[in-house]
Symmetry: C2
Subunit: 219 residues, 2 copies
Amino acid sequence: MKVNNKSFSNISMAVIRRLPKYHRYLKDLLDKEVYRISSKELSKLIGFTASQIRQDLNCFGGFGQQGYGYNVEELYNEISRILGLDKTYKIIIIGAGNLGQAIANYTSFDKSGFELLALFDVNPKVIGMKIRDIPFRDADELEQFTLENKVDIAVISTPKEIAQSVVERLNTENVKAIWNFAPTDLKVPEDLIVENVHLSESLYTLSYLLNEREIKNNS
Amino acid sequence: MKVNNKSFSNISMAVIRRLPKYHRYLKDLLDKEVYRISSKELSKLIGFTASQIRQDLNCFGGFGQQGYGYNVEELYNEISRILGLDKTYKIIIIGAGNLGQAIANYTSFDKSGFELLALFDVNPKVIGMKIRDIPFRDADELEQFTLENKVDIAVISTPKEIAQSVVERLNTENVKAIWNFAPTDLKVPEDLIVENVHLSESLYTLSYLLNEREIKNNS
């Protein structure tokens, strides 16, 4: 069952956002040399209901066979393809402090087709440094760099205050998507894809849950 | 309208997860000295529909007044309280590499009641260092530290392979919640709150969207 170059644009983002979790668990199974799994067993591992799992995976055509379960390797490969992980994406990182460097390490450790082209920063202390042969460039070169190079993902890991000005200095003709870690919502041209990681939303959810717990314990 | 110590446990997590965004926009409005706003104006800023906004904020009692709109400062303060941001939370960070240090900076810059007690690492090069007077300790001290100190949030920013062993070395009697950045799902005692930040889920969503876009453009 080949799904190469087939569009899945009718799939809801809720399903798409669950796929990386399937992908991660299937990878773990493969590492443990488990090649076959039922939706029921997968459900126990991953925490979704078996019926949710069957429903999710049916969106992409039926991977499972009744009485056999899922072929782990086939399913893993198909989900990789659906997520576009068989392609290579060129990345630049703007803001090469601790967070930017953590992302540089993260996307490279990953080995799944993310190619880091450059990091940019304003700090003279880091400009000229390298992470695994990838240079830290002067942020002043950002405009010229994105004029000369096609970039799939521009990571913004700058302070909130300058994030918008970074967007305005990108040549967005050559940039397809922004992975934004700055705690602000960016104004971008309509055809630019933006994915936000707002850490404060996660931290504040945690403080809400802690506070709720305490209120309950005290009442 | 005081809601101190009132439990909001009947509110859905979907609403709770939108509150930090309201909180962020209301803070921006206050910084710009805007003290009053209608749900319609707020809708234009924040991107939720006006009816969604009214519905969300009604969950906590009606903050708005017809024909007046919302009192920005009052609403900001109430949401802060609901999110538990009027309390102080004690944090430790386990894994003090780039990501751990980025989180240390992030939670302190924030100034909203997160108190960093210590960072732990296994790397002899960083043990003994400090971030704004907060010491980097030897990971071997983790068990003893959590025996002697109450911790609200233990941040796990270690490699995936050792994340579970970190949990097992915490004295979970004294730890209330885990903020997990390791790309794995942790097994924890039932009463421990866990909030995951799985960066790969965000990155893979981005690669999905890039891949979808390309397939569409080529078809």
